[in-house]
């Protein structure tokens, strides 16, 4: 028997799936830190940021914390990241 089936998925064009270009080194790179406001995430980011600075020569920016874990990042924060950093790290530690 012949059947013609319809996909239940969205066309890929409707989904943001494209990855940003990868860095080849973090030395000298500007790194953003984004905490989602869950407990201990900021501490984890601080620790990673310190190591990136001291051991790998990265330029690490201060942690930015979302007001609530369930909320998207404010657009002005994204704009700042886009203008100032090459990579953003995020973490949860609860």
């Amino acid at each position: 028997m012949k059947l013609r089936l319809v996909s239940p998925r969205l066309p890929l064009a409707g989904v943001m799936t494209q990855l940003a270009p990868r860095l080849t080194t973090v030395r000298g790179a500007h790194i953003g830190l984004l905490a989602n406001s869950k407990r201990n995430g900021d501490r984890l980011l601080e620790a990673v940021g310190t190591r990136l600075t001291e051991e790998h020569g990265a330029i690490v920016h201060p942690v930015v914390t979302k007001p609530h874990a369930s909320l998207p990042v404010h657009s002005h924060v994204l704009d700042t990241f886009q203008a100032e950093v090459a990579v953003v790290l995020t973490a949860i530690g609860d």
Binding site: M1, S7, P8, R9, L10, H68, S70
Partner: protein, 364 residues
Amino acid sequence: MTPVGAELTDLDVSDVHAAIEWCYEQGWSDGLPVVPPETHVVERFAEAAPWAPTEILLTEPVRGIEVDGHTVVVNAVMAGCRPEYLSVIGAALRAMSHADFRLHIPASSTGGAAPVIVVNGPIRDAIGLNSGANLFGPGARANATIGRCVRLVLRNALGAIPGALDMATQGWFGKYSSCFGEREEASPWPPLHVRLGFAADESTVTVLATESAHNIHTCSGATPDMVLATAADVVRGLGSHSDGQSLVVIGPEHAGILAGAGINAEQLARFLYDSSHRTLADLRRSGRLEGPPQADDATRRRPRARVPEDFFVLVGGGDAGCSSAWFPSWSRGRGSVAITVSIDTGAVRASSPGPASAPGLGAP
């Protein structure tokens, strides 16, 4: 007509079973067999749908995803729905698109929430939705497939794949399907949607992301005090304590006992709110509250809600038996709140005093 751009696959298979297996191989299933979404069936559903194929029914802003009517129809076919269920599905998806529902979070959180769908009004009878015996269990096609369709949309259109986007530590069986009606005819109180401001003859869908139900069970000639004491003990449990909302589905027998003592739904919600308070010492001891101990921790208390109306009281279940159920919001804070949508008018009510967590409580 199947929309231009829809992804089609021509299969030459020996039987329907082979087509079902092929759907499994594509990752389209929730683990149960799906109805292969054959073009002619999809087109028949699309003609009956109360929306255009290009109409956006579900919006998830965090990842910028919009789900159109065509995609919902395909998933409804796969879930085993009948076309007359589509209006309920559409209302549920619109409710979940509300900003205060914050769909991305319950779809992805380790907390493992399911969107629990409560239906009120005449459409329950029109589509055969069960609100009586075994209303949370199997047996009614509308209950089983409406909730399943919503879950398939989350899986296939939003990508809520377990272990990928859906990071639930355990999840619960309601993530297969969670849809039931309020048994308004057996309730001594005005139904939920009327108390939320909708007309009695209006059909509505209320969606809340919850964890699994907690049993409120008391028998042996239960008195009003026994029912209240049991319910109070359940809603103050530390394992689910937060300032979120919850559904309280009172069995008809319990509802009759309470109403016989002159207790109405609002009074019951107030009682549960008052009873749900725990000391800050308890909350800190269990890790529900952050920060170092304070001198007054043993005397300061917090409820499992923000306001009494956060307990959404409704009636459901069979005539016999002494069970009620409490569905607490999965979130530790106020990450997602209940949204009600009128199937008839599209009117929306967000039952939301606000999304922010109480100070010191974890989020979401």
